[in-house]
């Protein structure tokens, strides 16, 4: 039973990590290697707003989401848009931006165990004999809400439909008068906001550490690759696969192997079916 409950929580956490990455890749074919850095950055932004400026928690969270969204959009508009479509340069540049943010934060003194965010609601409850704190339950609720809202957003709003059009066929979208550069910037902004959302929801469960940036990036990539790059629902399903696999390894093998599972899963998926379980890309595009 605890496997089921903690597996679900872990899976929703992974889905939250991955959605932003999946969104950016799906819309503008940019593998955003700065995703993990944006996650950690937004954690520190919230912390600073709370503790240095003394804002109320809710205000700090909303401001963080907006700020991170703007930072992501600016990174795209000022830097990444110039190398759009040059795959190698995109990977290297976004990776370098991520490194600059993470190592800059480390240099700026944000390290150690001293940075924590408060939980939204203190306390815990028992479900079927297992103690679960409210914050973890909230993770599941918010995760489900985000997936639901994202679905509504991409099916019923003009911007969402434009984003989906871009993801499906960029040239056709251009012909229909969708501004592809603008939409790519919007997607990056939304992707960064999703990273920030994941951060504010998940970081109260532990400390804010710079190393988390690399782990989040790897997990996000793992989920997206296994689900199929560019497929949003695939990522959600893959998040559940990896989430439960990880909890099972923690229970039966030991916590050390948690990351190893994710990496092995990626390697296996890439070798056996590189387009992922639900990827829509042609086989020929990614392998010989």
């Amino acid at each position: 039973m605890d496997i089921l409950i903690y597996g679900t929580i872990n899976s929703v956490a992974l889905a939250l990590y991955a959605l932003g990455f999946a969104m950016v890749y799906g819309v503008s074919r940019l593998p955003n290697f700065a995703h993990g850095a944006l996650y950690v950055l937004s954690g520190f932004i919230t912390w600073s707003l709370l503790n240095s400026l003394g804002l109320p928690y809710a205000v700090a969270i909303v401001l963080t989401l907006l700020l991170t969204g703007i930072i992501g959009a600016l990174i795209y508009q000022l830097i990444l848009i110039r190398i759009r479509g040059m795959e190698i340069s995109e990977i290297m540049a976004s990776y370098a931006i991520g490194l600059a943010i993470l190592e800059g934060l480390r240099w700026g003194g944000f390290k150690g165990m001293t940075y924590t965010l408060p939980s939204f609601i203190e306390g815990s409850t028992t479900i079927a004999g297992i103690v679960v704190d409210y914050q973890r339950l909230l993770v599941v609720v918010i995760g489900a809400a985000v997936v639901g809202l994202l679905w509504l957003f991409t099916h019923y709003t003009r911007t969402g439909l434009a984003l989906r059009g871009m993801a499906q066929d960029e040239r056709a979208a251009l012909m229909l008068g969708i501004d592809s550069d603008l939409m790519a910037v919007v997607a990056m902004g939304f992707g960064s906001m999703l990273a920030a959302l994941a951060a504010v929801v998940l970081l109260p469960l532990g400390n804010i550490v710079v190393e988390a940036g690399y782990n989040v990036l790897i997990l996000a990539i793992a989920v997206c690759i296994i689900g199929g790059l560019g497929s949003w629902m695939g990522s959600v399903i893959a998040a559940f696969l990896i989430g439960f696999a990880q909890i099972l390894t923690v229970v039966y093998l030991g916590a050390h192997y948690q990351m190893v599972v994710a990496l092995l899963a990626i390697i296996m998926t890439l070798i056996l079916k590189p387009s992922g379980l639900f990827g829509r890309q042609k086989e020929l595009e990614e392998r010989v």
Partner: protein
């Protein structure tokens, strides 16, 4: 444009001496031989004399480290721009070579003369075997998976507590004397650099470049693409392992930090700065970046921020790199012409 206003554009023309030295007749004139030999001599003599010129042991050590990074950067450049496999995990090669040399030295008691070459060869084979399943991948997919390998190795060593765990392997012999320590990386770098320049112009080089440009065409010609990629990865991985093995003997210590990001990101930054696909450019990039990073040592991780920003700036504003620019200035001149 208004009527009567003169329009001009810049044109680039090969220098006369460049054209004359294109063929065998270059050998007839001392001046033309000098024109051909000058850049090569500057590189060879420069690298050989540099340790004698710089003040003190500390900077001599920096030159050694620069050459090791140079090996890594050349290995990245070869794999990325001649074979089309962008490897974000150069640290994997360094770590493999380093640990192999450390084991050969401490467990089997071999001298550095044997451990370095054997670690390079065995490491090359080992890395190639481990990367073999990923070789059919390309583009983003290979980059992502190569990024995973060093992280994965470090995690496995930590989790299983093998190979000295988080403490690493200590008590490794140094090189027999200072001159060997100083010149082994320099000479190896020069030999490999000129060797690779030969290699990429042979039939083998032609095939791998074909793989990069259009692997379907190569496959249609009845050539086994995976075999050629594997050989190229072996060449590149051996160079990385060689660097790692030298590093282990210089520091007399081998540890998880050999899988660290520094060994992946600095060679990439050096390649972009020096000029992608020129092979010698990455060495130039290392000669610029490594000393700067040594001077910034007191700023800690700010160094990585610094490389990362330089890397972004070069990718966006000067993506050809310094070497391509320098080569153009050496071989061509520019003038304004009327349209």
């Amino acid at each position: 444009m208004t009527e009567g206003m003169e329009q001009r554009r810049k044109e680039r023309v090969d220098r006369g001496i460049k054209v004359r030295t294109d063929s065998l007749y270059a050998l007839l004139s001392a001046g033309e031989i000098a024109y051909l030999a000058l850049p090569r001599l500057v590189l060879i003599l420069g690298l050989l004399l540099l340790p004698l010129v710089v003040p003190g042991m500390y900077w001599q050590r920096v030159i050694t480290i620069t050459c090791i990074y140079g090996l890594l950067a050349v290995s990245f450049d070869f794999l990325a721009h001649y074979v089309g496999l962008v490897s974000l995990g150069g640290a994997f090669f360094v770590g493999t070579g380093g640990y192999l040399a450390a084991i050969a030295n401490t467990q089997m008691g071999l001298s550095p003369w044997l451990t370095v070459p054997s670690a390079a060869l065995a490491g090359g084979v080992l890395c190639t075997l481990l990367l073999l399943p990923c070789l059919p991948l390309r583009g983003v997919y290979f980059a992502i998976i190569s990024l995973m390998y060093p992280l994965f190795s470090a995690r496995v060593i930590e989790a299983l507590d093998i190979l000295g765990g988080t403490d690493g392997i200590m008590g490794i012999d140094g090189f027999p004397n200072r001159i060997v320590e100083q010149y082994a990386p320099v000479v190896l770098l020069l030999l490999i650099l000129f060797g690779l320049r030969r290699l990429v112009t042979t039939d083998f080089g032609l095939v791998v470049r074909g793989v990069k440009d259009n692997d379907q065409a190569i496959r249609a010609s009845g050539i086994n693409v995976t075999y050629f990629k594997a050989v190229a990865v072996f060449v590149s991985a051996s160079m990385g392992c060689l660097g790692g093995a030298c590093l282990v003997h210089i520091y007399m210590w081998s540890g998880i930090s050999q899988f660290a990001l520094d060994f992946s990101i600095l060679p990439i930054a050096a390649t972009v700065i020096g000029g992608s696909g020129t092979l010698v450019g990455p060495v130039l990039g290392c000669l610029i970046l490594v000393p700067i990073s040594e001077m910034l040592r007191e700023f800690g991780t700010l160094r990585i921020v610094f490389y990362a920003l330089i890397l972004v700036a070069f990718i966006i504003f000067k993506s050809e790199g310094l070497m391509v620019w320098g080569r153009r200035k050496y071989h061509q001149f520019e003038r304004w012409t009327r349209i």
